[in-house]
Amino acid sequence: MKSKPYMNPYLAGVFLGLILLGTIYVTGRGLGASGAVKSFVANGIAEVAPEYTRQNSFISSYINDRPNGPLQDWLVIQVLGVIIGAFISGVLSNRLKLKLERGPRITNNTRIVAAIIGGLLFGFGSQLGRGCTSGSALSGMAVMSFGGIITMLAIFGSGYGLAYFFKKLWLK
């Protein structure tokens, strides 16, 4: 069976905006993604090396703010929802399939390595920028945060600036 076409981008945008608005109205905060990763990493480090954690103010302050562990962290639960929501959408639109997407000029291995490096950079940058595209850029834009909008411009500006150098990864 053929997979269904994607939703009209503007319609999807309006829905996404309304979900974000609803979230802000109910909880006072926006959506996010990278924070969930941080929750696992911070709690993992604290579990494995409690002594080290006390010396590292980044991890210890995070743990002290959220003493209940990752399973009661707002963003972790929200990301769990993202997984469920995306899965449902994939089922409904027949897009559920084990697959590796890559540009035509590179091998599968190159693609995997590039994805890991990209993830690494994004994970690292999201901690420095205090949020990723969802938590900082999108949610920041909704509440007109100066920092959020600056981060957004920096992400897309840098993406465009570097696009030429990584053409080989994506284009024919």
Partner: protein
Amino acid sequence: MGPLVPFIISEEFNLVVALIAGIGFGFILEQAGFSSTKKLVGLFYGYDFTVLKVFFTAGVTAMIGVLLFGHIGILDLSVIYINPTFLTSAIVGGVIMGAGFIIGGFCPGTSIVAASVGKLDGLAFVFGGFLGVLAFSVGFPYLEELYYANAQGPVIISDKLGISKMLFAFALTAVAFAAFYFTGKIEDRVNNVKQPIPKQTFNRYAISMGLAFVLLGMMAITPDYEQLLQSRIARAEQQKKCVFYEVSAEKLAFEIANNHYKVNVIDVRSPEEFEEYHIPLAINIPLEEILDRKWERYFKQTIKPNYFYAESDTIVKKACLLARFVGDSENYILRESVSQFEAMFQNPQPPPAYASKQEFNTYNFRKEVAYKMENLVEALKNINQPIVQEPIKIQGGCS
């Protein structure tokens, strides 16, 4: 008034909200095509601007919604989470993230979506994300300076630019619509096709754009909730229509001495004046703070009547009106000023020996009440602190 957490929805139930919001978020991202890395990077090579369209539309929709909710007074914009600005790290972090985007082909949210529908490259990106966060956490001692540099707090961009929120919203919405138009042109050229928009779809776009501007325009010309409240108060004062229920100092003192658990005595002067002298068992809610949510529970209740007092008549009346507009409590004002009350009940002076019996009665009454109040203050020292709803610290963003 929103946000509903933590006053109306508990912190525990908030996690259920998180799950629901996440399901919606993930569903829409997948439906929009964000599980495909080719669609995502299309933005950078000009062949597919879906990301920009979805992202900008969502941002503008939510922004207008937040403004609208604040305008009509159902969302308290002063407590929602505004991502704080640390200029240096926002830029450096953003640039690194941009590099991650073009190399890895995802951002964290979309990689999770991709992994959820079986994309192995999405899974690899998520794995990389863990490594990146780990690297940052371990390397934090070396990055600390950069991380905290140029801190500016939770500033709003319109304040930074020195324009009004509405003007910025107008400009951003206009920029978004212009971007949609031009990226459509670029897409057509890069892909060498011409995709005309069907008439029906075109009409829908036009109506949505019109709606966005109409909403913004309406907000720009109508007074917001707080202005409306203030103008209603001004009008009521002007027309002298409003009936104030006044109580005498004697009656109030009697209530405090005998029924202190049944009344709220509220001092609406400044904290300094309150510190200097206040009526026994009174709490201090300065006039400017009456609309703050932390005092909500004094005004949104019908069990304990509120007794307002101050030095000046107009201030106390204003406070009473504000309370009446924001809540449904029973409100009274003290007829006397606070200094008159002080003179009457702080060490009442015995009348001269030739005074009438009535004067003696008054004196005895005041002395007795003052004594009782003094004892109560002593007895209730610890339990009569005002109940302040904990100032909420909303955590947000991804940090």
